[in-house]
Symmetry: C2
Subunit: 357 residues, 2 copies
């Protein structure tokens, strides 16, 4: 291998920025919101520049082959505000989120790295609580945190704590789960009520009070996924609808596969208090983040088996079919509404819920 | 696997914080400085809680075995300020730093994840330049960036851009490079002049001007390490002296192995302008960060071969022997000074150079 000199950093060199500078001269909150602008940044800037097969899959993680083993890799940084919320904290999120991204590749998550960016002045006790939450989450999902990094930034240059985790897992032989494997006829399943995580965070931020507290659904989905794969090794697609919610996740699948997706509004489980909170805040639950939910696209021949396996798992008791993949309106998600009409369910555009994870 | 309920976050539960709260009620900049307080945080809080064999090695990365393959994993978040500096940018650092951590495990780096935390308002053009720098660095080191994440935080809650990378690589059969493998008699080698990266950053921050610009040494060391291993598969220890510099890295090795390390001050290569800048700022070059240097502890039988292989590589032309491992003063680093005395070279305590990487 030849080793070039240390690269010289020169603002005048290289191709011009692929994001239209006159339209977006600076990074907006929405570029991190998981919707259209995030997608534009990834597809126009990162994917062409880092061009490689694994990245181009636009999956929740990358699957690479090392010595005959299919290794899934994933990473996420967690910047949720506040760092503690009903049902969990940034600590659980940081472990469960990356575990889930690996599981969505059909992988068995094994090892995680964790890196902290701490704002100077964070109470040591708060750090300790977050780290303990990570430990509990790691035990619950069966992964080991094997290496890490700690950086501290000046007061006012961070926000208490940001956590990055990256993880690796093994994809079992025969499993091939990818967003572009959606096929007409596939049923769309979800493992329970949606929009809990986002509304738990928003309720705290906005000081909303309900009869029952809305709690985040943060949970490790790898055990559920294992049970689902055991019931149907030919699972086509898995996706956890985090930032951008169910709507954005399904749009990504529709785009990747070129298929249409038809949702049945009446079938989508939304708890009453969540629906109420969404109405108060003017939010559509379809775009609200989840942290313990998955969408599964399953060939009709094994949909019953998968649904049974899901219902049999503690994290899948509320599993239901919410739609199907169709040949019509390829690349788009359409919802049959409760009042009998059809409406296009677009990708999230703009920033609905900043710093939700 | 049993799946517990979503954990409840309760500040009253669990063991008490292992960092003495009355001494350190809050996180200080020094907890991220790579010195004594960083070590205390890692050894008292993270290692006991996440207890596992890989983490307990306190290496630059973790080595785990998957399906008979030894996989090295490493992660680092980069928070350097300013994000562009003479000789590079946060983009090169983010790739080279993690590549080097993997190489220090004796691994061949293969795949990297990258995760951005961007402050709202970062100029799109700056992001583009950073991402291009990452691309160039990835090409230079031969790694692929296979998956990523983008988060945006509000203005004043970040600082332009923080980048996390995590990487995996394969440790070739027969290679066993660990800090606790230092043995009396081993020679300590370095691949060239030290303290360049830290002083490049500090010169910019402090507005110092010299006849020649001090440039960061950021570079990928995996090619150099491959050549060194080829010349001596029984290399004992590799370490890149980043945060905390040569002094802290050698102290970690001395502690891990229980051996003493004896440095020869006259042999340590420090460029004149770097020495001058250090004097002006009251810094000891032994504690200043490097981003393209490695320390190698090599059995005497193959020291000549390793040194020859290093000098033959573009990134090792300035390689020299700077010390040796001794039976005396186990766990401590001692330096034979230019004026003929001996002094203990302690671990960095406190925060010398904040946000250097």
């Amino acid at each position: 291998m030849t080793m070039p000199d240390t690269p010289v950093y020169d603002f005048s060199q290289g191709p011009s920025c692929p994001i239209p500078i006159n339209e977006y001269p600076a990074v907006l909150m929405a570029h991190g919101g998981g919707g259209r602008l995030t997608q534009q940044l990834i597809e126009r800037m990162f994917v062409p520049l880092f061009a490689n097969e694994a990245l181009a899959q636009l999956h929740d993680g990358a699957v690479v082959t090392i010595g005959g083993i299919r290794l899934a890799m994933s990473t996420d940084s967690y910047v949720v505000r506040p760092i503690v919320f009903p049902g969990g904290s940034i600590g659980e999120l940081a472990v469960n989120g990356t575990v889930n991204d690996l599981a969505m590749c059909g992988a068995r998550p094994l090892y995680l790295t964790s890196a902290f960016i701490i704002e100077e002045g964070l109470a040591m006790e708060e750090l300790w609580q977050v780290v303990q939450a990570m430990q509990r989450a790691a035990l619950a999902s069966g992964v080991a945190l094997v290496t890490g990094d700690t950086k501290v930034v000046d007061r006012g240059k961070g926000d208490k704590i940001f956590i990055n985790t990256a993880g690796v897992g093994i994809v079992p032989p025969g499993v091939d789960i990818r967003p572009d494997r959606a096929r007409p006829g596939d049923l769309v399943l979800v493992n329970g009520p949606i929009a809990l995580h986002g509304m738990a965070i928003m309720s705290v931020r906005e000081g909303l009070e309900f009869e029952t507290e809305i709690r985040s659904d943060t949970a490790p989905l790898n055990g559920l996924v294992e049970a689902m794969i055991a019931s149907c090794p030919d699972l086509h697609v898995l996706r956890d609808p985090t930032r951008g919610g169910v709507a954005s996740a399904l749009n990504e699948i529709a785009r990747a596969s070129g298929c249409g997706i038809l949702l049945n509004e009446d079938a989508i489980p939304i708890p009453e208090d969540v629906r109420g909170a969404c109405e108060i805040l003017g939010l559509d639950p379809l775009y609200v983040a989840n942290e313990g939910k998955l969408l599964a696209l399953v060939p009709p021949s094994c949909a019953d088996d998968v649904l049974a396996a899901m219902k049999n798992h503690p994290l899948g008791a509320g599993s239901v079919v919410i739609g199907k993949v169709v040949e019509e309106h390829g690349g788009f998600v359409v919802m049959k509404t409760s009042i009998g009409g059809n409406r296009v369910v677009d990708m999230l555009s703009g920033e609905q819920l900043p710093r939700i994870c």
